[in-house]
Amino acid sequence: MADNKQAQAPEPDVTPYASDSSLSTISKATYFKEAALRNLFLLCACVAVAGVGLIFLFVGLKGWPIFEKVGVWQFLTGATWYPTKGSFGILPLIVNSLLAMAGALVLGAPLAIGTAVFLSEVASPRLRELVRPAVELLAGIPSVVYGFFGLVLLRPIIARLFGGLGFGLFTVWLILAVMILPTIAALTEDALRSVPEGIREASYAMGATKWQTIWRVLLPAAKIGIIDAIILGMGRAIGETMAVVMVAGNARVIPDGIFKPFLTLTTVIVMDMPYASGDHRTALFGVAIILFIISMLFVASIRVISRFGKEMG
């Protein structure tokens, strides 16, 4: 302390700082600068809204004529997709897309949830270090590579085991299941981790086994998050194109078996676009806008369910 006193040069008249001055007011320049910055950031945030609007505008406008011509109802429920003959019904495509999604979900969701439970409740930290990166890597593999893998490895195996060419619903289910697995697993793990630790302890203290705790306490507690995860997986499955087009076979008929080739909402666009013209092309844009609306419905339903779940407590 004495050192400090010596270090300072002695000043006889120590004037404290600005003791009589009035408080500064916010200068106009500062005010405008802060407001301008805020608005700039707001503008950037609104790019997202602009994006959605633009997609509706451009894809919708290009697809609108087909709805005018054929009628929305007829378009959605017509049972024949034969554009070259003027038939624009996408019901079979919708059904096929739903079938593909459903099967992928049945196979993929339990696998994903099981993996998430493993990561959150069962694995030791070292195992977690191994499995979680694996899930993240699975998420990063491009869909073409999944499709390619399905094409060169899975298809011949399925053809040999079950006959036929190996294209079809079954193959699509396998590939899609692995593709939506990381999405569902990551969100489910987050949901499980946000369940307070005290709940687990309470359950164990009552003599419950680990499985009983998971099944009766944790999974129900994380219910909303898991449902969100599954819906997100559903959205991903129904919107997937590249992987599906490489293993689905792409024949324009309603498949009469799970090993028969088929066409979905997404693959029809890829297959037909190269040579479509006129009404046919317009119809493909119509399919695209339907796909967009479906994906937005998924997003909206997640919001509704989350809000519903929050009110239930």
Binding site: T30, E34, R38, F41, C44, A45, V47, A48, V49, G51, V52, L54, I55, F58, V59, K62, L111, A112, I113, G114, T115, V117, F118, L119, V122, A123, V131, A134, L137, G140, I141, P142, S143, V144, V145, G147, F148, F149, V152, L153, L181, T209, K210, Q212, L232, I238, G239, T241, M242, T266, V270, M273, F285, A288, L291, F292, S295, F298, V299, R303
Partner: protein
């Protein structure tokens, strides 16, 4: 009777945990199978001639350099366009926004954008950038379409990164007479930078692997693009076309392997940055 119940409990527990283990093993096995298969079949292709050479002939013999250049070019351009907008948007949402109708709308729009099927985004790019504005098949059209896809991803990771900066640090800055923007730009963003970078790199990986968006905005012409208005064929598009034609499978495997290595590279870099950041802050 009590011990019988206890036995049942134990058996169920054991079986259930076994099933859970199985799920995890299956997941890792799936990854392993894909990686091993692609590596084993593609490794033979990875010669300098393949990587730096051009394809020629009907069978696309030779190399795939133009596709590599196209992929890197469009990815870099897309990241350049998206990242500033996404980061500033995240700054708004994390620091300035007040709960209200506008913010809810923005978030809903961002979530919707994130879940758009990539083929819809591809047709959108075709309708607006390629035909509407008249850019034709080009790197810039693809980059713009990709930007809309990447925007919500980067906004989400950046917002999380910003929120992770502790309140106390910000208060330290405000307590010294700093304005909001000074605090955000000098303290918050630099603190959040490692996490932001991780998010950006992962998004870049996503961009590099995109097919449906790129095929309708950049075309399928084999070309090493130089100007943003040049068309080109990226690696994912090349892979898809090769696989469908089935003529030159070895080249397809090589392309697949290079693509996987690229994405793996992005992934590992992001992970490394994340780990180094955690070590410095601990």
């Amino acid at each position: 009777m009590q011990s019988r119940e206890r036995m049942d409990k134990r058996i169920t527990n054991g079986v259930a945990l076994g099933v859970i283990w199985l799920a995890a093993v299956a997941t890792v096995a799936a990854l392993g199978t894909i990686l091993v298969y692609v590596i084993v079949n593609g490794i033979g292709q990875l010669t300098p001639a393949f990587i730096f050479g051009w394809p020629h002939g009907v069978n696309m013999e030779g190399g795939i350099w133009p596709t590599i250049q196209a992929t890197l070019y469009v990815t870099a351009l897309a990241m350049l366009i998206t990242t500033p907008i996404a980061v500033l948007a995240a700054v708004y949402l994390a620091e300035y926004a007040v709960q209200g109708r506008l913010v809810s709308t923005i978030r809903f729009a961002a979530d919707s954008l994130a879940s758009v099927p990539s083929i819809v985004m591809g047709l959108f790019g075709l309708a607006l950038f390629v035909e509407g504005i008249g850019m034709g098949f080009s790197v810039i059209a693809a980059a713009l379409a990709l930007s809309f896809l990447l925007l919500p991803i980067i906004v989400r990771t950046t917002e999380e990164a910003i929120r992770a900066v502790p309140k106390y640090i910000r208060w330290g800055s405000y307590g010294l007479g700093a304005s909001k923007w000074q605090t955000v730009s000098r303290i918050v963003l630099p603190s959040a930078m490692p996490r932001i970078t991780t998010g950006v790199i992962l998004a870049a990986g996503r961009a590099a692997g995109e097919t449906a968006v790129v095929i309708y905005t950049m075309g399928t012409m084999i070309n090493a693009p130089v100007s943003p208005l040049d068309p080109g064929r990226t690696m994912p598009v090349h892979l898809m076309l090769m696989a469908q034609e089935g003529i030159n499978m070895p080249a397809a495997y090589g392309t697949a392997l290079l693509l996987v290595l690229m994405v793996l590279g992005f992934n590992l870099t992001a992970r490394y940055i994340g780990r180094r950041n955690r070590r410095m802050q601990g």
